[in-house]
């Protein structure tokens, strides 16, 4: 059901493509979710999972094979003409008319909307004010992504759709984009973002849907998704000894699984545990009993990657 505070509502969405040899490819398979007004909602999944197709249907670029999509209370595809005036979209590909300058492009895109944000201010907000007179074809990859974000904000949209916004960027570039997105969210606007970067989803998103093979596998806040794992934390330690009695480590209360891996610096042990409060005391006791002083020891929370691997049972396909 669409609630009063729902920005996007997707129900039983299916998209089938005709593949090579006439074989149907089910890119989106019975996906349902809701995006609340004012939140950053993430679709997390590997390349080819179906998240871009899902997003493009919601943006009105593609039409669903079946299912219903409502954006800002307007049903698609019928209302996509009016919805396009109220949303901002950053596509995965940053493609523009190459010989135009950034300023000209923003003016052009602004002319499509009744509400238009000042071009200079937009460029300044993504650190491109000095490039305003340069042709878009002369920008670096990172600059193009930042410009693409600015272009998506030209109509001060109520919902911002971002498809892999930091793909191919260096850490500084990613952080710059993240800051701009969170600043936008702080104005009360809604953001829907797809990504295959787990840290990005964790940093940005209020809620995350994990999607793979066209199916929505899980949906919750990053923290709750991680907490839903059997092992929400890791104790990782490095030692030069490879003769440790593994049964003693596995017997520590709260330990779910033990893996070990030889690396150039020694042997890296990974104890997956439910709760550090339950397991850390017994763990240090075992270390003392074994007279073991690890070269490096860390207690780390599980990540969305752990969630994804636990849900799909496979490695990420990047």
């Amino acid at each position: 059901m669409t609630t009063a505070r729902s920005a996007v509502s997707v129900r039983d969405l299916v998209k089938v493509f005709r593949g090579p040899g006439g074989k149907d490819l089910r890119a989106v398979d019975e996906v349902s979710f809701e995006v609340r007004v004012g939140e950053i909602f993430g679709l997390l999944g590997p390349n080819g999972a179906g998240k871009t197709t899902t997003l493009e249907i919601v943006e009105g670029i593609q039409e669903a094979t079946s299912g219903t999509v409502t954006v800002l209370g307007v049903a698609l595809p019928g209302g996509k003409g009016s919805i396009k005036r109220r949303i901002g979209v950053q596509l995965q590909e940053s493609a523009y008319l190459q010989r135009l300058t950034l300023e000209e492009l923003l003016d052009l895109f602004g002319s499509f909307f009744s509400k238009k944000v000042d071009s200079a201010g937009l460029l300044a907000s993504v650190g491109l004010e000095e490039k305003s007179k340069e042709a878009v074809m002369k920008l670096s990859g990172g600059q193009k992504r930042r410009f693409s974000l600015a272009a998506s904000l030209v109509n001060d949209p109520e919902i911002l759709f971002l498809d892999e916004p930091t793909s191919g960027l260096d850490p500084q570039g990613r952080r710059s984009i993240w800051n701009r997105i969170t600043a936008y969210k702080e104005t009360g606007k809604t953001v829907v973002v797809t990504t295959h970067f787990m840290d990005e989803a964790e940093f940005l998103c209020d809620r995350v849907g994990v999607i793979d093979h066209g199916k929505l596998m899980a949906l919750d806040t990053p923290l709750k998704l991680i907490r839903s794992l059997d092992s929400a934390y890791h104790i990782r330690f490095l030692t030069s000894r490879d003769d440790l009695p593994e049964e003693r480590l596995v017997a520590i209360p709260g330990v779910v699984r033990l893996t070990k891996r030889e690396i150039p610096d020694g042997v890296l042990f990974d104890l997956e545990i439910h709760d550090p409060a339950e397991s850390l005391g017994p763990f240090t006791q075992v270390l003392a009993e074994l007279n073991l002083r690890p070269d490096d020891i860390r207690v780390e929370p599980a990540t969305l990657e752990d969630v994804f691997l636990a849900i799909t049972g496979s490695e990420l396909r990047d």
């Binding site: 493509f17 005709r18 890119a27 197709t53 943006e59 009105g60 670029i61 593609q62 003409g81 396009k84 005036r85 949303i87 979209v89 596509l91 590909e93 940053s94 493609a95 523009y96 008319l97 010989r99 135009l100 000209e104 003016d107 052009l108 895109f109 002319s111 499509f112 909307f113 042709a135 272009a151």
Partner: protein, 368 residues
């Protein structure tokens, strides 16, 4: 929105220097080449003569023969013209009546070879002037009636070449953008970016077509400029540059050229709507353009069966060429000089516009 899109399209056109220069240089190249060709002709023109004037007509023909500019073939009657032209060996034919105080000699030509007639008509006109001056004591005894063009004035040879030059520039300009560049935009994601805005594919088509129409207008004016330069070489003493200024009606070539551009751009957009990639669109539009030029341009039409030759009249290039030719030879608007051809061309513009608007999409068919 349209105005902004138009301005943007013009900026891109101007900044794409390579394409712009090619678009402007090519018609100038053709104009120069073909224009020069009108000044390099055979030593003599081949004329058929029918003497309907008895001894006085025979005397005129004898003077004509001695002029040395003509290779004459005497025919028994006008009925033999068709057969003589059918063998395609003649530049024209003269019907000589009895030479009296005031006489009009009919110059008849094969309409299909109108574009090559400039030099022949010039020679005939020149001969008549000499005849009147030297043999008739300066009085205008003989005048020439050219049919079926129904004009008695001298038309600079270059103006017969104009339609062909403009046809080539129209096709090149339309095909160099048309569908292939549209598919390029689509493949690179430019159209996809427009799809998430309120801008429509229709708006894009309209602004692009308008931009190309402006370019075609500039091309036409440039070609006319080259024509004036070529014609200025024929200036005689006492004549000024104003004497080679074409009549104002020649500006009708601009809308005719624009109509031609629209037809081919629309065909390219329609092809882009159906085809999946640039190579297919490029091949289809080039093939289409080449075939139309060959069958409509007069190169092969003489050997076509009558049915095909008739059908060619209804394809876009032939009406465009014919209406342009009528404008330059009659000094009249295309609606007056060639209403049927202009109507056919207009129908093509409307038809292809509907086709382009129906078929063209920002997104490729079944694109994932």
């Amino acid at each position: 929105m349209f105005r902004r899109m138009m301005v943007v399209q013009l900026k891109m056109l101007v900044r794409n220097r390579g394409s712009l220069i090619a678009s402007l240089i090519l018609p100038l190249f053709f104009a120069g080449l073909l224009g020069a060709a009108t000044h390099i002709s055979e030593d003599t023109s081949k004329l058929a003569i029918v003497n309907e004037g008895g001894p006085s007509g025979a005397g005129f023909i004898e003077v004509l023969r001695k002029d040395g500019s003509f290779d004459l073939t005497l025919l028994g009657s006008r009925g033999e013209f068709k057969d003589a032209f059918g063998r395609r060996k003649l530049d024209g034919a003269l019907v000589v009546p009895e030479i009296t105080d005031k006489v009009t000699i009919s110059f008849i030509f094969d309409e299909r070879k109108a574009a090559q007639l400039g030099r022949t008509i010039e020679r005939v006109q020149s001969f008549v002037q000499k005849y009147n001056l030297h043999l008739a004591g300066g009085s205008e005894v003989v005048t020439i009636h050219v049919s079926p063009l129904r004009t008695t004035r001298v038309i600079p040879p270059f103006r017969y070449v104009l339609p062909t030059v403009l046809m080539f520039s129209v096709i090149f300009s339309a095909l160099s953008f048309g569908g292939s560049q549209a598919v390029g935009y689509r493949d690179s994601g430019v159209f996809k970016r427009l799809m998430v805005t309120p801008a429509s594919a229709r708006l894009f088509l309209l602004s692009e077509a308008t931009t190309r129409a402006l370019l075609a207008s500039v091309q036409t004016l440039l070609v006319l400029g080259v024509g004036m330069i070529i014609e200025a070489q024929d200036l005689k003493r006492g004549q000024g540059l104003l004497d080679v200024l074409p009549p104002i009606q020649v500006l009708w070539l601009i809308p005719l050229g624009v109509m031609g551009v629209l037809v081919f751009i629309n065909l390219g957009f329609a092809a882009a709507g159906l085809a999946g990639n640039t190579e297919v669109v490029s091949s289809v539009t080039n093939l289409l353009g080449t075939v139309l030029v060959i069958i409509s341009g007069g190169l092969l039409q003489d050997i076509f069966p009558p049915g095909v030759a008739r059908a060619v009249q209804f394809l876009p290039i032939k009406p465009m060429l014919d209406s342009m030719l009528s404008v330059v030879t009659h000094d009249a608007s295309p609606l007056t000089a060639a209403p049927t051809e202009t109507a056919i061309l207009a129908a093509w513009v409307v038809g292809t516009s509907v086709l382009a608007l129906s078929l063209f999409r920002f997104r490729a068919p079944n694109k994932r």
